[in-house]
Symmetry: C2
Subunit: 204 residues, 2 copies
DNA sequence: AGTAGATGTTACGGGTTGGTAACATTGTCA
DNA sequence: TGACAATGTTACCAACCCGTAACATCTACT
């Protein structure tokens, strides 16, 4: 068997997993490479042999998260083929899981946001991921027949990022727990805007 | 004149101002006491004479921000006496300023959210402020005749926190720039929920 | 068996940061 | 003038953290 140790994952994978976990929990600045190496049941030297620097490790972690996000969209489209409305509704539901479930890649992205102001090499990677999500979600809203798809995309973006933030700082008792109900209401409002009562209440 | 130096503010005030500014820009973990003292045109020793530790300084800064938030509500109610609907609409507009204008106390609160997981003494202070805001906003929504005031409060909470977060990481090009338009739409939708088309689109 | 490559261990260097000690300086009030 | 409090200056410590060097160990493949 030339297989590279299927039972115990190789150190590189263990390090990435541990890093992602700890970055989520403590933030990128909040955890040291020593702690990561130890949590990965490895050591600092092999960490630095695989990743030239902590910044490089961060980039790899974020790229890994981006790859998993790719699966998110694949699954979503596969679950409701040729039914954008159902996809949009299911997006809300699944996004809700991403907010509340601790083990999600999104928390890694928001940890990366701690790197603003200092031009961390991971910044533009995060930016690309954000753009990709936005583009896909916009296409989804457009296909679902929403009147102002771009505005709904921005609304959902603010809601989900706010939810992730709120969940971190306020916990399960905070507003983030009701993300799905809120997002569903907002989506419904945008859908109704082009079907039911045109200019609802507010004279614009 | 026994007045304590009206022209140049005393060191304590200068330190608090500098700290708030730098905490906003770099986050609490991202700036050192040395830099704060220098920015305040003071030095580390007087900083530690006034505030026993960096954590204490953080708490004072947040309490200062909370006091200013008190003014926010006072001004809002004074601007539209006995007109909760106008107050709610104006709340959205003013909240939008708090998102985009760099010099705002909210950024201090979200900087404080970097302290999650480690039970920083500032955490429960932030929690209290958050509760106060929520309570006042809920009362406002109720008085404005919103059908589900609590849900709208949570929605606006997620939107504004998401906007602050997004503004930091995505800048003026991101979704945060359209916060006001989004929030107005959401508010209108909640207002219409109790007036126009009852159960809009979604069978709940 | 033996060799090469990946991994583990220990120790260290240089930098930053929170916090303290000791002393000098300034300004105020009697 | 003299005394006292607040402030400034310098130096320092201990802890932490990123990154590297040197050496030991293990594993795989021939």
């Amino acid at each position: 068997m030339t297989a590279p140790a299927r039972l115990a994952p190789p150190p590189r994978e263990r390090i990435i997993d541990a890093a992602r976990d700890l970055f989520r929990k403590h933030g990128i600045r909040g955890i040291g490479v020593d702690a990561i190496a130890e949590a990965a049941e490895s050591n600092k030297m092999t960490l630095y042999r695989h990743f030239g620097s902590k910044d490089d490790l961060v980039v790899v972690c974020i790229e890994r998260a981006a790859a998993e996000a790719e699966d998110f969209w694949t699954d979503l489209k596969a679950a409701h083929p040729d039914d954008p409305k159902a996809q949009l509704q299911d997006w809300v539901r699944r996004a809700g899981d991403f907010v509340t479930v601790a083990h999600c890649n999104c928390e890694l992205l928001d940890a990366a946001a701690q790197l603003v102001e200092s031009d961390h090499p991971a910044r533009h990677v995060v930016e690309e991921i954000r753009k990709g999500h936005k583009r896909r979600l916009a296409a989804l809203c457009r296909d679902a027949g929403v009147a102002e798809p771009d505005l709904l995309v921005d609304a959902l973006t603010l809601l989900i990022e706010g939810a992730r933030f709120n969940w971190r700082s306020a916990g399960p008792q905070g507003a983030a727990a009701r993300f799905v109900a809120i997002a569903e209401t907002v989506v419904a409002a945008f859908m109704a805007k082009s079907a039911c009562c045109g200019s609802a209440g507010k004279a614009h």
